[in-house]
C-alpha cells in the first residue's frame, strides 16, 4: 500500500503508471515492427514517428495552430450553445417538452455529412469548422447541464423561497452551482469530441490544419508523417482535456476535495480486502 506521503510522491503515483504503460505499448509496437519485418508504409516504428515529429516540427506547429484556433472557438461555441439550451429547456416545462426530443434527434443527424453543406453556405474559411466542432460537441454539455439543473434539492429551493430569494437568485445561488459538476462532466466528453469534429471539418474543405494534413499525407501514402500528425492531434485533445480538468479543480474546489476524500476511502477499502 502506498503511504500517503508528500505531494510530489502523490503526483508520481498518479503520473508514473500511465507513462510506464505508454512506454510498454511503444516498446511492444517497435518490437513487432522490427521483428515482424512490417513495411513502413503499413505501420512505421515509433522511433521513425518520433523522428518525423521532430523533422516536421515547423509544419506541424503551423498547422496545429490553425486547428487549435478552430477547436478553441468551436469548443467555446459548444459551451454557449449547450449551456444556453440547457437553461432554456429547464426554464419551463413547455419549452422542455417542445425542444428536448429535438435535441436528441439532432444527434441522429450525421454531422460529417452536413459539413459539405456548411461549406457551401459559409465558405472555406474558419466558420464551417467552428460550426461543425460546435455541433459535434454541444450535446454532452447540454444533456449533462440539464441533468445538473435538475439535481438541486427541492428542499433547498423551498428554503431559498422562505428567505425571499427571487427566481434569479435561486438560479444563481443554488441551481447553477449545483449544475456545475455535471456541466464539467459534459465538457470533458465534449473536449474529446471537438478534436474529432475539427478533423471532419477540415476534411471537407480546408487548405491548412492538421486534419487537412492527414488527407494530403494519406494521398501520398506518407504513413509515418500521418502518424506524426495523429500524435499531434491526440496531444491537442489530451491538453484540452487536462485544461478542462484543471479549470474544474480551480472553480469547484469543494467538489474536487469531497470527491477526492471519498475516492481515497474507496481505494483503501479495496486494498484492505485484497
Amino acid at each position: 500500500m502506498f503511504a500517503r506521503g508528500s505531494k510530489s510522491r502523490r503526483i508520481a503515483a498518479a503520473v508514473l503508471p500511465p507513462v510506464l504503460f505508454a512506454i510498454f505499448v511503444l516498446a511492444a509496437w517497435q518490437l513487432y515492427v522490427v521483428l515482424g519485418d512490417v513495411k513502413e508504409s503499413t505501420l512505421p516504428p515509433p522511433t521513425d514517428i518520433a523522428k518525423s515529429l521532430w523533422e516536421n516540427r515547423t509544419m506541424l506547429i503551423e498547422n496545429a495552430w490553425v486547428t487549435i484556433k478552430e477547436i478553441a472557438l468551436g469548443f467555446l461555441a459548444a459551451i454557449a450553445l449547450g449551456v444556453g439550451l440547457a437553461v432554456l429547456i429547464r426554464s419551463s416545462r413547455k419549452v422542455e417538452r417542445a425542444i428536448y426530443p429535438w435535441l436528441v434527434v439532432s444527434q441522429m443527424v450525421p454531422i460529417p455529412a452536413i459539413a459539405p453543406l456548411l461549406v457551401i453556405w459559409t465558405g472555406f474559411d474558419m466558420r464551417p469548422k467552428v460550426i461543425v466542432i460546435m455541433l459535434v460537441s454541444f450535446f454532452p454539455i447540454a444533456v449533462n447541464t440539464i441533468d445538473g439543473l435538475r439535481a438541486v434539492e427541492p428542499e433547498l429551493m423551498n428554503l431559498l423561497k422562505t428567505l425571499k430569494a427571487n427566481s434569479w437568485q435561486r438560479f444563481r445561488k443554488a441551481q447553477l452551482p449545483a449544475a456545475l459538476p455535471f456541466m464539467f462532466s459534459g465538457l470533458k466528453v465534449a473536449a474529446a469530441l471537438s478534436v474529432i469534429g475539427a478533423v471532419f471539418a477540415e476534411w471537407v474543405g480546408a487548405s491548412e490544419g492538421l486534419g487537412y494534413l492527414v488527407l494530403v499525407l494519406n494521398n501520398q501514402t506518407a504513413t509515418t508523417e500521418m502518424f506524426a500528425v495523429i500524435f499531434t492531434l491526440a496531444l491537442i485533445g489530451i491538453l484540452l482535456f487536462l485544461f478542462v480538468t484543471l479549470l474544474e479543480r480551480l472553480l469547484l474546489p469543494w467538489y474536487y476535495e469531497s470527491r477526492e476524500s471519498e475516492g481515497e476511502g474507496l481505494h483503501l477499502e479495496v486494498e484492505e480486502k485484497a
Binding site: 428542499e155 433547498l156 423551498n158 428554503l159 422562505t162 428567505l163 445561488k173 469543494w254 469531497s258
Partner: protein, 274 residues
C-alpha cells in the same frame, strides 16, 4: 398561555385534487394551533399525518384550501418569507463554506458580506462551530451540519422559526446532546419555535406545549401543556410528571396507528386478539 399570541392557525384545511380524476385527498382538516411569543411548541404525529403540509402552509410555500395563518394577530401580506424555516435535511450548499452557508439569509436580505460574516462569527462559538468557518459542509459531522443549518435559520432573523425534525437523522447520543444544546440556545434569546418531531420524549423535553396530530385526514387530536419547570436537564425524563405526560401523549398516537391500521396493517390489534 402567555399574553401575546405570536402565531395563530385557525380552521386550516388542505385538499389535494386527485390526479387524473381520482379521489381528492384531504391532507389537513380543520387544524388549529396557537403559539405565544417566545414559546416552544411541538407537533408530534406519525408519518403521513400532514405535518409537512402544515409546515409548508405556515412557511407560505403552499396555500391552504381554507382557514388562516395569523402572525401577530393579522394575516401578513405575504406569508412566504415572514417565517423562518428549517427543512428536515440540512440543505447546506456543498459549494459554500460553513460560514457562507450560515450567512445565506443575511445575504439575501442585502446585508453586506463583511457585516454578515461578523454577525455569524459572533455566533459560531455558541453553535459549536468555532474553527470550522472555512470548512466545506461535507467535512462536518451530522450534528454540526444541523447546528450550521440552525444557525442559518437563526441569522435569517425571523421571529418565528419552524423546525422540521431537525434531529431526526442523528444517532441517539448526538440527538440527546443536540436537544440539550437547543434548549440552552433557545433559553438565551427566546425565539418562538414550532418544532415537528415523531419522538414524544423529544417533544415533551423541549416544549411548553405539545400538539398531537393524527393522520388521514391530518387533524389535531390532542393538545397538552408541559408544565415541567425550566431550565430542564436531561434527567427530567425520569420524573413521574414526564412519564405521565408521555403516557397521555402516546395514547392518541397509538390509537391513530391502530385506527389507521386499515391502510398499512390488517392484523387484529392486541386487544382484539385477547
Amino acid at each position: 398561555m402567555q399574553a401575546g399570541t405570536k402565531l395563530k392557525i385557525e380552521g386550516l384545511s388542505k385538499t389535494y385534487k386527485g390526479a387524473g380524476g381520482g379521489e381528492n385527498v384531504t391532507a389537513l382538516r380543520d387544524v388549529g394551533i396557537e403559539i405565544g411569543d417566545g414559546e416552544f411548541v411541538s407537533i408530534v404525529g406519525p408519518s403521513g399525518c400532514g405535518k409537512s403540509t402544515l409546515f409548508n402552509i405556515i412557511a407560505g410555500l403552499i396555500r391552504p384550501s381554507s382557514g388562516s395563518v395569523l402572525l401577530d394577530g393579522r394575516e401578513p401580506d405575504e406569508l412566504l418569507g415572514s417565517v423562518g424555516y428549517m427543512p428536515q435535511r440540512d440543505c447546506l450548499m456543498p459549494w459554500r463554506t460553513v460560514l457562507d452557508n450560515t450567512t445565506l439569509g443575511l445575504e439575501l436580505n442585502g446585508v453586506r458580506k463583511k457585516e454578515a460574516h461578523q454577525k455569524a462569527m459572533a455566533e459560531f462559538e455558541r453553535f459549536g462551530l468555532a474553527g470550522f468557518e472555512k470548512h466545506w459542509p461535507a467535512k462536518l459531522s451530522g450534528g454540526m451540519k444541523q447546528r450550521a443549518a440552525l444557525l442559518r435559520t437563526f441569522l435569517a432573523g425571523r421571529d418565528v422559526m419552524l423546525l422540521d425534525e431537525p434531529f431526526g437523522a442523528l444517532d441517539a447520543l448526538t440527538r440527546a446532546n443536540m436537544q440539550e444544546w437547543l434548549l440552552d440556545v433557545w433559553q438565551e434569546d427566546r425565539k418562538t419555535i414550532l418544532f415537528v418531531t415523531h419522538d414524544v420524549e423529544e417533544a415533551i423535553y423541549l416544549s411548553d406545549r405539545v400538539y398531537v396530530m393524527s393522520g388521514r385526514p391530518g387533524r389535531v387530536s390532542l393538545c397538552v401543556d408541559v408544565t415541567l419547570p425550566r431550565p430542564r436537564k436531561a434527567e427530567v425524563s425520569m420524573s413521574p410528571e414526564f412519564l405521565l405526560l408521555k403516557q397521555k401523549l402516546l395514547r392518541p398516537l397509538e390509537e391513530a396507528a391502530a385506527g389507521g391500521g386499515a391502510f398499512y396493517d390488517d392484523r387484529p390489534t392486541l386487544e382484539e386478539q385477547l
